[in-house]
């Protein structure tokens, strides 16, 4: 994956948080991680990618951050159902926004949400993923991009 492609996803997550009341997202230095132990927090919204690229993009975040983020978006209902919904919507927005640069053939699925155990996420072990760490207020989350041309 090129630096330009990685930047597309960094821009996507930054753009998402610009629409929160507490727009103070900090993006850390991206790094490559082995897929045998994928980065995973309380909730993960995963988008399958097909077409010109194959693989997945996911956003993973702790429960406390999602609860705070829901309130910051003006939504009073911080139920588990809405946390599941939000983590999927963040992943969908970041992936969908990437099509501005990557084009229509960057085909994305509806979000799949995984909650709880990190062991539930399985990525191709022959590949490595780019992890983009983020901090919003005091919460750490990550965007993970695992794509094969």
């Amino acid at each position: 994956m090129t630096e330009e492609t990685l930047q597309v996803f960094i821009d996507g997550v930054s753009r998402y948080f610009e629409h929160t009341k507490d727009n103070d997202l900090r993006v850390g230095t991206p790094y490559l991680a082995d897929n045998c132990a994928p980065v995973s927090m309380d909730y993960t919204g995963l988008i399958g990618v097909s077409g010109s690229n194959k693989g997945c993009v996911y956003f993973t975040a702790p429960k406390a951050m999602l609860r705070h983020l829901i309130l910051s978006l003006g939504e009073p209902d911080t139920s588990d159902e809405n946390m599941v919904d939000l983590v999927g919507e963040v992943a969908n927005t970041i992936s969908g926004n990437a099509r501005r640069e990557l084009g229509k053939n960057f085909m994305i699925s509806v979000p799949v949400v995984v909650s709880g155990a990190p062991g539930k996420i399985h990525l191709p072990t022959e590949l490595r993923s780019y992890v983009v760490p983020t901090t919003w207020r005091s919460y750490n989350a990550a965007v993970v991009i695992c794509l094969q041309h």
Partner: protein, 123 residues
């Protein structure tokens, strides 16, 4: 008062549109979670305006737009989607949409988009 239907598979987005729209001009008469449900509800409530997500299970937004436009060529459809490529925007317009609002969006941007979509009705 214009009748409005909201179509999105995200509860957070449905709720945001419900909160943000101008309630003096729009009356939300139906809320659908996917294209299939939207098609069923459209026949029952015949909205004037529809906000439409594109990436949804069952019937997706592009297909739903085409079907709604065939049922009622006068319906005003505002696409509200994260899909930001030009080709998808053009396809949505060709299928019968009248406007496009990119996610993420602010409440003000939604109101502006709905105003632009319907301003010709007030001329």
């Amino acid at each position: 008062m214009l009748k409005m239907m909201i179509v999105d598979d995200s509860n957070i987005i449905r709720s945001k549109i419900c909160r943000a729209h101008d309630s003096e001009r729009f009356d939300v008469v139906a809320i659908a979670c996917d294209g299939a449900e939207a098609l069923r509800m459209f026949h029952e409530c015949r909205p004037d305006v529809v906000t439409m997500d594109l990436t949804m299970p069952n019937v997706d937004g592009l297909e739903c737009i085409a079907k709604l436009a065939r049922i009622d060529p006068e319906v005003l459809i505002l696409v509200v989607s994260a899909l930001s490529d030009q080709a998808t925007g053009i396809e949505a317009l060709e299928n019968g949409a009248s406007g496009f609002l990119l996610k993420p969006f602010s409440e003000e941007q939604l109101r502006e988009a709905l105003d632009e979509l319907t301003e010709h009705l007030y001329d």
